[in-house]
């Protein structure tokens, strides 16, 4: 598994990728964005060959990353991470609240 700041990219068996996902689009600059910062404008972006990003239909953030060639995870404030081919779950860091939890705003 690979961690870049508040994002964890966790390898999974391709059979674990659920059906019914929708493409998690590209941002206005054509980038595949795993997570973005509204206040800073910084983003965890994946580049490479044969890379697709998918979301569960009712969620804003992408949850699954498929790489058939090679991938490279980049961010303005963190070092780049090369990603080998495979299927991944994308997990955003969270913090505990009594009785609940919420995403981390780094």
């Amino acid at each position: 598994m690979y961690r870049q700041g508040d994002v964890l990219v966790h390898p999974i068996d391709p059979a674990e990728v659920p059906a019914g996902l929708i493409p998690a689009g590209r941002d206005a600059r054509g980038r595949l964005v795993l997570a973005r910062g509204e206040a800073t404008g910084h983003a965890h972006v994946v580049n490479g060959s044969g890379v697709t990003l998918w979301a569960l239909p009712d969620q804003t953030e992408p949850s699954f990353l498929l790489i058939e060639g090679y991938g490279r995870l980049g961010h303005e404030e963190h070092g780049p991470i090369p990603l080998p081919a495979g299927a991944y779950r994308v997990v955003r860091q969270r913090e505990y609240l009594p009785g609940a939890w919420r995403p981390v705003a780094d």
Binding site: R3, L8, T40, G50, E77, A85, Q93, P103
Partner: protein, 426 residues
Amino acid sequence: MTTETPSDHVDPGLRTPHSPEAAGPPDDRSAAALARTADTWLARGLATDPADRATAEAAVRQAYAGAGLATPETIIWLGSPYAGALAAALLTDTTSGAAGPGGFGAAGPGGPSPATSPPGGDPDKSPTGRALAEVTAAIRAQGHEPHRVVTGRSVRARLRTAPWAEARADAVTRLGPAGWAAHWAAGGQRTWHLLNERLVTPLRTRLTDELTREMPAPLVGRARTALLDVVFGQHDAAWLSAFDNDPRVAGLAGVADAAGWWWPYERVVIMTERPVRVERDNLGRLHHGDGPALVYPDGFGLHAWRGMPIPADVAAELPRLTVERIRAERNAEVRRVMLEHFGYDRYLRESKARAIHRDAYGVLWRIELPQDEPLVMVEVVNATPEPDGTSRTYWLRVPPQTRTARAGVAWTFGLTEQEYAPLVQT
């Protein structure tokens, strides 16, 4: 450099999670174009310029004409959605169409009756009484006597709900269910999430509280109705981004690009200004530690910490907190806000917290809180150094039963201690 990766070229060895139907999902180029449109709409939704009143009023007339409605006779401007909702409550009356005996304070010809006075004595000295007097004065300054204004019924359903439903049904037919889902994901979902869920919902909650807590009885019901009859103006950007250039919503879109919340009635339109300030955190939640996160030009504001609205008196206390004050706070949510504002690191230091575990993943800290579950935090050092060579340290709260630093960090990613083992960390 961005590599083109058409979504239909996924390795057959990986299960393709999507089977396109009808027109199918947007390709990469159109997905980026939809995202650019969504960004433009998001900027409109977050705009803090003064309303462009002439443009907004022209767009209102366009919306009325498009819905087959007569042009409204009167347009009244207020400084915030709070003032707008108060004006709507003052001017509407389900029995007579105007603020009759149920009116309040300076609005009614006879002044307040004892039965309609808010708690706390003289209504004009209460915050609600003052706000009502200001709204009444603003309406008078625009040449209207509040008790003589006849608004007619709300036309929100014809003006907003119906065109939206038509545009949506049309898009679903054109794109197919899967195509629509992908179109919405690429061009609307994020704007909706950021504007509707993170901004409008807390604002509505706050307005509901403010407008029903101290309002004299006859106005409470009308204030509630006003919050259902509102059109969100710039905050309609939440859904308009997915319907860019649809002529059926052009009037609504014109108002969204020029003004804040508004109330359309058969004969009268109440319009409001945009905020002068919107402060958000990295996840887009309303968040500000030094003053309100959302501020309107008439002074109405909403204090919020990481998306949680906080009362103004608590907000005023935040800069002067002490460990003792935080410990004495009985409301758990307020205490949480206080803790975060004070800073976990400072609280740890000043309350002489115990480090209960250290490993290669960080340090686990624990502090007992009276009449509350213990505060357990993992202290982590950022893997990538800052430009000056130092490494940023941060604290995350984890469940109280956490026993090791590694288990704490693992929990923040939804994993067990054994599962969490990053190969590379930056």
